[in-house]
Amino acid sequence: MYRSQTLAVKYFSAAIALFGVMTITGLIAAYYYINPDFLFGILPFSIAKILHINTLVIWLLMGFMGSIYWFLPGELGRETAGIWAAEILFYVFCAAVAVVAVVLIVFQYGGSNEAALWLINQGRKYVEAPRWAALGIVVIMVVFAYNVIGTAIAARKTTGIITVLMIDLIPLILLYLIAFPAISNMSADLFWWWWLVHLWVEATWEVLIGCIMALALMQLLGTSRRIVETWLYIEVALVLGTGILGLGHHYFWIGTPSYWLTIGGFFSALEPLPLLGMVVHAVYDAGAQHMKTTNRPALYWMMAEAFGNFIGAGVWGFMITLPQVNLYAHGTQWTVSHGHFAFWGAYSCGVISVLYLVLQRTRNLAIVDGSLWKWSFAALNLGLVGMTGALLVSGFVQAFVERAIGGSTLDAFISGQENAWFIDGMVARFLLAIVFTAGYVVLVWDVLTLGRRAPAVAAAAAAQ
């Protein structure tokens, strides 16, 4: 096994651990809606939420990095360049994440000065991590880009997929620099902040997961390189063709000119089309294999990726993207419903799929199957879809009661939050979050024990 692949396993381990932190902090945040005095005075809602959304970003980034470190040597026929630096930085990364989390929990906030932004909390959504940590992330990503590009240079070779990846990493890293400035003007702040968030999760990250899925498909289904490359270019064209100006669907209400309502709404409404293509593609791939494969969890999680992406990002986004609807749905639990489902389908399922591919090799398994992965697959997906549904109910009610009727005053907000349907939705969300958590626990158990179970069980699985 290449050193790069050993590092990949470490990144996946850290990623799955952070997935757990994300889940626990999500449970805490969700429970606050049910019992607002829970941990009040100890850990405010805001800190639980910050931990929840920052670990979301980091666990996925680590999953992406693990995937690339895993596939890169095989793609380019040699050890990853500069792997020694990446190995050291992995531990630095983990330590930094731990320090940031502890500081956030213990200190929570500082005074209204630069020092607080540098050391404790920057207070911009998803990028709250203090500036010293943001700087660390830039270093880690630059070294990661060097690992990829340097390997191609040293090998005097590249592939279509790796070229797309290399080009994608440049805007990905440059966009992250938007995490640094403290812009006084809220309109300008949010304008640039959306360049980072949208052009990450609806552009550069989509290309990145596209590259990873292309690499994974070649391994899982033996698909030819020419085929995955062709489809990668088509996907990149369609996703970025709709997503770059789809950025405008965040520019309806932040003080920007009103032409964004038309432009953003129009391009955003087109975004589900390529995702439908991906679903059809997934059915084709499944059918061509008759769902037979040596790694069933990897295949099923990849199917979940295609379907979850279309439904979570495409369908749920389509509900709220037209500006007439968004005027009422904006900034409600409807948004939360979409966000959870979209991140899950577009990214989490794909990363878990690759995790199982990696495990097949590291545990030396001819067949990857069993009953544990099925339980975790069911619980995680049903839990997530259930949470989404519950949040849709709460969000719809909130949009109507708070925005449409109440006019978004403080009293309107309160009446929305105290509405019986809203409360029922938030309670249901919490209960389904527990189902999701159970799925996570089983996932971890499966990952820890795969290939290491009692010989009789392993032999029976292999015989199927």
Binding site: R226, L273, I311, F318, M319, A404
Partner: protein
């Protein structure tokens, strides 16, 4: 009330897109399986999708431009599965020819 109608339009739009996805999945399954059931389910799904589109056009407070977009999108959703499938078969046949 216009606001409630607008919010209901949001739900309808979701249903519209979801039915387009179901149409695509059943259409793809119909290409894989011999039984005519999937083909019929696909047509039923697209039929419901058109019904959702008509409901959006006839009874939501969206403007003319957006309703036109719904019509055009319905055609795009209709064409996407067959176009994707045809090109998939084409690329895979070429891919196999090379190996």
């Amino acid at each position: 009330m216009s606001a409630l109608a607008t919010l209901e339009a949001g739900l309808l739009l979701g249903l519209y897109a979801l039915l387009a996805g179901i149409w695509g999945v059943f259409w793809a399954l119909a290409q894989l399986r011999k039984t005519p059931m999937y083909g019929r389910l696909a047509i039923a799904a697209y039929g419901l999708h058109v019904l959702a589109a008509l409901t959006i056009i006839l009874s939501t407070p969206l403007g003319f431009g957006w309703k036109s977009l719904i019509v055009v999108s319905s055609f795009a959703f209709l064409a996407t599965p067959p176009m994707t499938w045809r090109f998939l078969r084409h690329t895979h046949q070429n891919g196999q020819a090379e190996t």
